[in-house]
Symmetry: C2
Subunit: 165 residues, 2 copies
């Protein structure tokens, strides 16, 4: 999805609250659309670079049987595909709601400059979503054979053709 937002850009060359308000308006509208249908969860996100929308996403968890298909993840994948990169420096992500733990991590890995969102995790909890719970809960886990697993990174460091990120 690549759209110039006609007219609006002329007086807003740099990121500002006015730009941010515009893009947040767009994602809230998309999320409202999703919330009123059954195929998608009530979330949406867009990614903007130099006042151009370079990626977008709506929630596909239940539609695609994919628990990782949050709006932000899909928007990041879309922007990376459109820009042919795995680094979104210089980009801003607008999300209809506060990113969960997973999406917060994805935003960091994508090296996005900034995040603007509207609803909070508390609001999402009112809709039945576990974002808040996950911030303090922990999946039962154990570490096994660390010594051997750690050697993987020695092999990696000795591979001078590896692509660092």
């Amino acid at each position: 999805m690549k759209n110039k937002i006609g007219g609006y850009l002329e007086t807003n060359v740099f990121s500002s609250d006015k730009d941010d308000s515009h893009y947040i308006y767009l994602v809230i509208g998309m999320a409202k659309e999703c919330a009123s249908h059954t195929e998608h969860g009530p979330f949406s996100a867009i990614i903007v670079k130099d006042n151009e929308i370079v990626g977008s996403g709506i929630n596909h968890v239940t539609k695609n049987n994919d628990p990782t298909a949050h709006a932000e993840i899909i928007a990041i994948r879309d922007a990376c595909k459109n820009l042919n990169t795995f680094v979104l420096k210089g980009c801003v992500i607008y999300s209809s709601a506060e990113p969960c733990l997973m999406c917060e991590g994805a935003i960091k890995w994508a090296r996005l400059d900034r995040l603007v969102y509207s609803a909070t995790a508390e609001d999402a909890q009112r809709g039945g979503f576990d974002d808040l719970v996950f911030k303090t809960s922990s999946t039962p886990h154990k570490i096994l054979n660390r010594q051997e697993g750690s050697k993987v990174f020695d092999i990696w460091n000795n591979n001078n053709k590896s692509i660092k990120y």
Copy 2:
């Protein structure tokens, strides 16, 4: 990827350290393979249900230009596709390294029963990966128009055909 591990299962009906050691051995081996090539980051994961491998993944970040394509994310998507569900209750995920913030969140959303991993985030840092940094860093962010964004969840709650997850 659906494989019975021939012979081994007969004496290991229930999850045990012996089972866990076996599956960790597999993911470490896969990660070592990845680490010695340029196409993939040095990580791998598998998902096991009832002693059967129901999903697997290796890192595709640089290969696919997708910062979300960590081994665990790909394994979760693969298992969900194979089992035709967005809920992986009853499944265990084995990862060659400690899941990052993003993958930790994905594991929670997928409702995986357990996590077993080998290398730690400290080990991954030795390989140049920012997992540890991300646990304490924060992307610059702001909340905008929360009141309007919050209404999305009222629409969602009033939609009796919505699929909760």
